[in-house]
């Protein structure tokens, strides 16, 4: 904690959890889109988000984040109109996502080139978020660090291959947190690797070439 955690952040009101945190959840989806133009987005709101989104502007905040705006961007207020102007087709749905944190949203996006993706996460207070699912797979990260998601098959040596590559090819790279989840022994698995500092150029491409790795995605800090 530092003095600017108390005097700050500068944000668009009214609520750090229902507005500022919602923008950051949207930004995770924006990072996954990797600057490809967006065609349509379906935003599912659960729990308190579903009940009170109008009064807190949670819908505008999520959409603003999806379009790349920050929690301090004045455009948040006009995000619905801006999305329409940009030709983005958006819809808000309400669903009781079972077992989810009260402030949970699921963002399903469809890009103009046909690619699709999904982010599910929760705004857990004070503008902090926790991402729970990416493209249907369970993950857990805060978006405060650059995060690398490595989809792979659960076999001995895959984690070692990934971390060795990180160590030997990118000596300055430091892992801040590491988490592994898997469907079943030997099944599909996912590493969530949060790193300090900036991700080096070409890192995810190099990881993708490792045997038994099916995909690697970089989710930049939000």
């Amino acid at each position: 904690m530092n003095v600017f955690d108390i005097i700050g952040p500068v944000m668009i009101g009214p609520s750090s959890s229902h507005t500022a945190g919602a923008v950051r959840l949207g930004r995770v989806a924006n990072k996954l889109m990797d600057n490809h133009p967006l065609k349509r987005v379906e935003i599912t709101l659960s729990g308190s988000f579903a009940q009170t989104y109008k009064g807190h502007g949670t819908d505008r905040a999520l959409l603003a984040g999806i379009m790349g705006y920050h929690s301090y961007s004045p455009e948040i207020r006009d995000a619905l109109a801006i999305a329409t102007e940009r030709g983005i087709d958006y819809v808000f749905l309400k669903e009781d996502i079972k077992g989810a944190h009260p402030n949970t949203a699921r963002i399903h996006f469809i890009l103009q080139d046909g690619e699709e993706g999904t982010v599910q996460g929760a705004s857990i207070g004070g503008g902090n978020i926790l991402v729970h699912q990416i493209n249907g797979m369970n993950v857990e990260f805060t978006g405060e660090n650059n995060t690398i998601l490595v989809m792979h098959q659960d076999q001995p040596g895959v984690i070692a291959a990934v971390t060795q590559l990180m160590h030997f090819e990118y000596a300055e790279l430091n892992i801040a947190s590491f988490r592994l989840t898997r469907e079943a022994r030997g099944g599909n698995a996912i590493m969530t690797i949060e790193i300090d500092g900036h991700p080096p150029e070409g890192l995810t491409d190099a990881i993708r070439k490792i045997s038994l790795v099916t995909n690697a995605i970089l989710v930049r800090r939000v």
């Binding site: 003095v3 009101g13 609520s15 109008k54």
Partner: protein, 295 residues
């Protein structure tokens, strides 16, 4: 490095080094963040600029909240204070208007500085922008006093809480008011120990305040509680500057605040399950904004 685990630490360190708390904290925080003191100062200066802009935005005659439940309070109070002075006089009336304006700006999705939270964002500007605009205190001194306010807030966050969901409104508006009181005392030339006393009195006067937002929105009673926050900050600071001390030390007041928060029922901690939120009018307003929804 300072630990920010007690108010006494801040007072002792500042007094032993013959510094203001703000100077001590700027030096310490710049080092902790690996910034120069100038960089840290300039970042705080930007926060103060946002506060001034939020006052202006919130004093617009057509300011309305997103829900439509509130709006225009800052403008009404500004006009009244300027034209009639009112019971509080034009200075305090103007300060009330600024607190209402910033809290209103927040409710209408304007840009604010969470200080320490969005719900209590009107209190520091209500006090500090008023001293800047009405008492003509130099901007540099005001910006420095925000480091004092921030340091007190850090201790409050560690020893008690700054989250309504954890400690009720005493943790949000109470904390903001105590932070502002300490900053005001420093700005008016008080000692570090007097800053601590003003913090203690402000906390003591808001102990037990519940967080009971109507419809769960940061509007009713939050916007007007920002006003009670500044009134308690000004009165606490003035009492201390008049030579009246706090009978309970600041750190003990914070321990009390924590234990009061810990024993506060969940219905009164930002869940909109009690207090004003569960009054017939509160429930009617919730239906007005969100329609009939099952819990």
């Amino acid at each position: 490095m300072l630990k920010y685990e007690s108010i006494q630490e801040l007072v002792d360190e500042a007094e032993s080094r013959g510094m203001r708390i703000s100077e001590l904290v700027l030096q310490d925080q710049a080092a902790a963040m690996e910034k120069t003191e100038l960089e840290a100062y300039e970042k705080m200066e930007l926060d103060f600029q946002v506060m001034i802009q939020a006052v202006q935005a919130g004093q617009a005659p057509d300011q309305r909240s997103m829900s439509g439940l509130t709006g225009g309070e800052g403008y009404k109070m500004k006009t009244y204070a300027a034209e009639k002075g009112g019971l509080c006089g034009s200075f305090l009336g103007g300060a009330i208007s600024r607190a209402l304006a910033v809290a209103g700006c927040n409710a209408s999705m304007g840009k604010i500085v969470a200080a320490p939270t969005a719900g209590s964002c009107g209190i520091l500007p209500g006090c500090l922008v008023s001293l800047y605009e009405e008492k003509h205190i130099p901007e540099k001194d005001i910006v420095m006093s925000m480091f004092t306010a921030g340091a007190f807030g850090m201790v409050i966050a560690k020893k008690a809480s700054i989250a309504g969901a954890q400690g009720g409104c005493q943790a949000e508006c109470g904390s903001a008011s105590a932070m502002a009181a300490a900053a005001l005392v420093e700005l008016m030339g008080g000692t570090p120990a007097q800053c601590a006393d003003a913090c203690a009195i402000a906390i003591a006067n808001q102990l037990g305040l519940v967080c009971d937002p109507v419809a769960g929105l940061v509007e009713i009673p939050c916007i007007k509680r920002n006003v009670s926050g500044i009134m308690i900050a000004f009165s606490s600071a003035d009492m201390v500057l008049a030579g009246i001390d706090s009978k309970i030390p600041a750190d003990e007041c914070l321990d009390a605040m924590r234990s009061v928060g810990d024993t506060m029922p969940e219905a009164l901690r930002e869940t909109a399950g009690g207090g004003l939120a569960s009054t017939p009018t509160g429930i009617r307003m919730k239906k007005q904004v969100f329609g009939d929804q099952k819990e």
